[in-house]
Symmetry: C2
Subunit: 165 residues, 2 copies
């Protein structure tokens, strides 16, 4: 399997997780699903991913119980929501070590407005912030994408609430 989900001989929970979310594009699909993207065409517009690959990845994620399909919408499940710490940790790491400009997007506590700490807690409230209370805000490093979904996300947006295009 060229890039795939097969770490068969690895006796390890990390490998098990990567069989589900370790393929190319998958983590970005989950990121967007956490943001509230739900429609096939919206994932397509934001990811620049071939339709065939998107179709296959969405199906895999549904099979794994990370997404749930209802009509033409893919919504993230509880299992999927529990990937938020992984996505957040990756974002902070990428930003800290490979962010050539200012952050493009900030994760804030909707209640008090403070930016989340690296460990996902709110520095103001001194407690972990549940995903539902996280608000996406555009950061100082202006994003350049101009597809409808990315444009919609230039406004502050509560995590998990469907993105309207």
């Amino acid at each position: 399997m060229a890039l795939g989900k097969d770490y068969a001989r690895q006796d390890c929970a990390v490998a098990r997780a990567l069989e589900v979310v370790g393929e190319r594009w998958t983590m970005l699909i989950i990121r967007d699903a956490l943001y509230g993207v739900r429609r096939f065409s919206d994932f397509l517009a934001r990811l620049d991913i071939p339709r065939a690959v998107l179709s296959q990845r969405l199906q895999s994620l549904v099979d794994a119980g990370v997404l749930e399909k209802a009509g033409h919408e893919y919504a993230i499940t509880e299992t999927g929501k529990e990937l938020w710490p992984v996505v957040h940790a990756l974002a902070r790491w990428g930003e800290r070590h490979f962010g050539d400009r200012a952050p493009v997007r900030l994760y804030c506590h909707a209640g008090c407005g403070a930016r989340l700490a690296a460990d996902g807690t709110c520095p103001e409230c001194a407690r972990p912030v549940p995903l539902e209370e996280v608000e996406l805000r555009p950061g100082p490093g202006a994003p350049v994408r101009d597809d409808p979904v990315s444009v919609a996300l230039r406004e502050p947006h509560r995590m998990l609430t469907p993105v309207r295009t």
Copy 2:
């Protein structure tokens, strides 16, 4: 790029991170590097990865500053150590949702012996556990691999300390 590091049009820290650590095998290499694996042949034995791919991945990680090569050893850098929250979060997620048997490996606080909570804190000491104080212990789900590195890791092992084969 088939599976690769190219998420060029993604204006996002997650994508930036995945360009470095998102390719097949890379995260497992980092997992092992955090455990203390350092030699080419040891990664090879534990991962069942083609030599050519391992060689290329190690080089990429050195280029990105995640690993550091000294002689014939690849050691993890500070940048690499900061991926521990990502690896730990992935492991807990994989274990919770896709662990068909009992955990193969436990992450414990070397001081008090308690198992780390999902957020990386020690439930006994009620504080975050620095990577240096994390101890690997074999879990109740017996691992089946019998390469020298995996065998060595059946003993309790402090994170980052070189694995002796």
